[in-house]
Symmetry: C4
Subunit: 228 residues, 4 copies
């Protein structure tokens, strides 16, 4: 490798790590569809209609979890865009994150099955609790990336690092709150998780590169999540 990192060099060093991660994200997000159970034994149009409507918790959790994994992928992508290469701690932090990504269908399925039963509180607490751990993994990954600035691309500014750090940390108190709230009201807990990704969607939007910034800017200067 030459002394100054070029775009090609960046691709090369984390290429397979990204493609493997993309594969895990893609499979995990697609497996969520198994939560959509086809009703059995309906014998008429109205019976099938009723059966389909009764499955509304599965549609709700499917869409929530899909959106969450999508946001997770976008954040993962945002982090990797600032990364120049990977070392071992970063590799294992990424592995922990991927483990948790693949786990997402499990709490999703748990909520789907228990949302309308008396055990809903625990199911939703487990759901939000898993996202607490996922958020911790993101913070670990980001910390592994920035702790020595060795892995970051040279053009990344301290302001960008600070912004992304804040962005990732935000999820921690919200998910913790959602976990606690689940024991009071499971729907409020799920709603809070949903609010978080709606908020993030808008936060993403605000960071889109404006024409002005694009004019004098540089690729890495724009926010990492702003372009896919």
């Amino acid at each position: 490798m030459s002394s100054e990192p070029r775009a090609g060099a960046v691709e090369k060093q984390t290429g397979r790590l990204e493609s493997f991660s993309d594969g895990v994200f893609a499979v995990a997000i697609t497996l969520l569809v198994f939560n959509l159970q086809v009703p059995q034994g309906a014998t008429s149009v109205s019976a099938l209609g009723r059966a389909l409507l009764q499955h509304w918790p599965s549609y709700l959790t499917f869409m929530t979890s899909f959106a969450t994994i999508l946001i997770m992928w976008a954040s993962h992508h945002g982090i990797f865009k600032l990364i120049y290469k990977a070392d071992t701690p970063f590799l294992f932090a990424n592995g922990l994150l991927l483990l948790l990504v693949t786990v997402v269908p499990f709490p999703t399925s748990l909520v789907t099955q228990y949302l309308t039963t008396p055990a809903a509180k625990l199911a939703c607490a487990v759901y939000a609790g898993v996202f607490v751990v996922i958020n911790v993994a993101y913070n670990l990954l980001w910390w592994a990336a920035v702790r020595q600035r060795r892995l970051l691309r040279p053009a990344v500014t301290p302001r960008q690092v600070k912004r992304l750090t804040r962005h990732i940390l935000l999820g921690l108190p919200v998910y913790l709150l959602a976990t606690l709230l689940a024991f009071w009201n499971p729907y409020v807990s799920l709603g809070l998780c949903s609010c978080l990704w709606i908020f993030w969607a808008f936060a993403f939007y605000e960071r889109s590169p404006s024409p002005r910034r694009l004019a004098g800017g540089q690729e890495v200067e724009t926010a990492p999540e702003s372009d896919a």
Copy 2:
């Protein structure tokens, strides 16, 4: 990034978005095979033969859905070939589309199970209805791409944009009609969906680059769906 976008730059900015999308398409299309249920407990060759033949609705819906996801992938590919980079609305439109791609096995399984029962009408209406929503998502994605021409590659001509817009919009009335027709005759509804992808296959074919056009042409000048 230099001021004039080169081919390499295009690859770079939407590379991971495409590879993640490819992964989701690949998993969703492969999961369709779960609709092919192995008959249980047949005790002779003739019993197994009868059992296999009885599953004809599953073969029909499997092939229809496979072809549909394949066409969806080809359209997705066609759109991305004209794209220079991605912004946040485009990213979320793509996410919505991927969500719907992963949903396809669900209505497929629904039709497989209810096609020969009295509830077939609703099952087929749901099937066609899902494709209505998918078509809306494609229109959103394409609209997010062209609304400011910021994301389009500079060489893309207005004629190309118009052609693809028409191409994508076509599905909307057809799928809506298929949804309504399902309540009259489920087979007609499925047949209409099948006709649509046969028509698209021929439409693809017509747009293949002719040798003449290739001679003086340019890569983006040829229709986006014409080469893989």
Copy 3:
């Protein structure tokens, strides 16, 4: 695109088609593991041992199918290495092939369940019959690639084309024979399929580039399947 195709240009035009195909192959080959059923309710070491041994048909078909999909991937890769770009017939031939790749777990599961029952003959005939259709799809794909030489890389020699044509056509009579033989003896049918991929493995081996050929050769001059 410049007038003379370079390596980079080749990558670019079929890159996403290959990555999507790779995804489908990877998922299909991994889903085969669902044929390995964990025995239920064994209460002792010896009971579990017996239960595991009784599942030998599932191990046999799992390994056979895995090897077959692997060979299919290698052939697919071999074809794509000679391809310069893709047109619509090629795209659809590839789609048909992918459909059949995803189907493989179905006949595999069928054989797994019926190999030791009186219905084994039909199960094995269906198994071999699916591979007949798969082979037809390969011949279609290859025919779509060579029919006008438009899609082939310029450096591909007629001898290479002839060799690959023969290679792909070989499977057709063998699989047809295996389909017929299944009604006489299912084990012979499966064995013939296995022989085919053992033969192909050796055929692959023979075509490996020898040091001599490498010295004066050119990348495309060596057999397409010889290097991954």
Copy 4:
């Protein structure tokens, strides 16, 4: 191809082999989540809590298997980073390895189901035994890569080869021991497997490129597993 292998040339010749392998790894690691069964029919928070806690063997084996496949991917990646191109024996050794990667969910599921039953000893022996075979496959793959130095990148030093050889061979006696120990105590067997990947994690860490080595070094000079 020019006479001296460049970085681009390396990418090109094993690119699809790597992307297919990544796909298989990604699907296999994600399918492990099916071992996390959602408890059925719990009617209260405490009943669901008890049911979830009772599933601890599934959490244990899920995490162990995930970490193991992750380490396997890292090793696979480490081997491929030293590879210049692939020949047929290498291709088939890689195929055998992928077969075994997809098998991992099977022994994992076996242990999950039998860890708390009298049949645990056999279940754990099968689990460790599968990893013995996996380790043999890695040794085959590595042997196929180094046997003629034809496939290795020119810059790879004999010291690097020796180090990786030792690294891969280490697993063989440990997994064999774990297989035998399973018949004495299944927990000790699982624990030994876990110790192995903890050890490997630290071994990875030690091989991280130090700033000093990076300064005067060269990309391939650093340990193959040190950067992703």
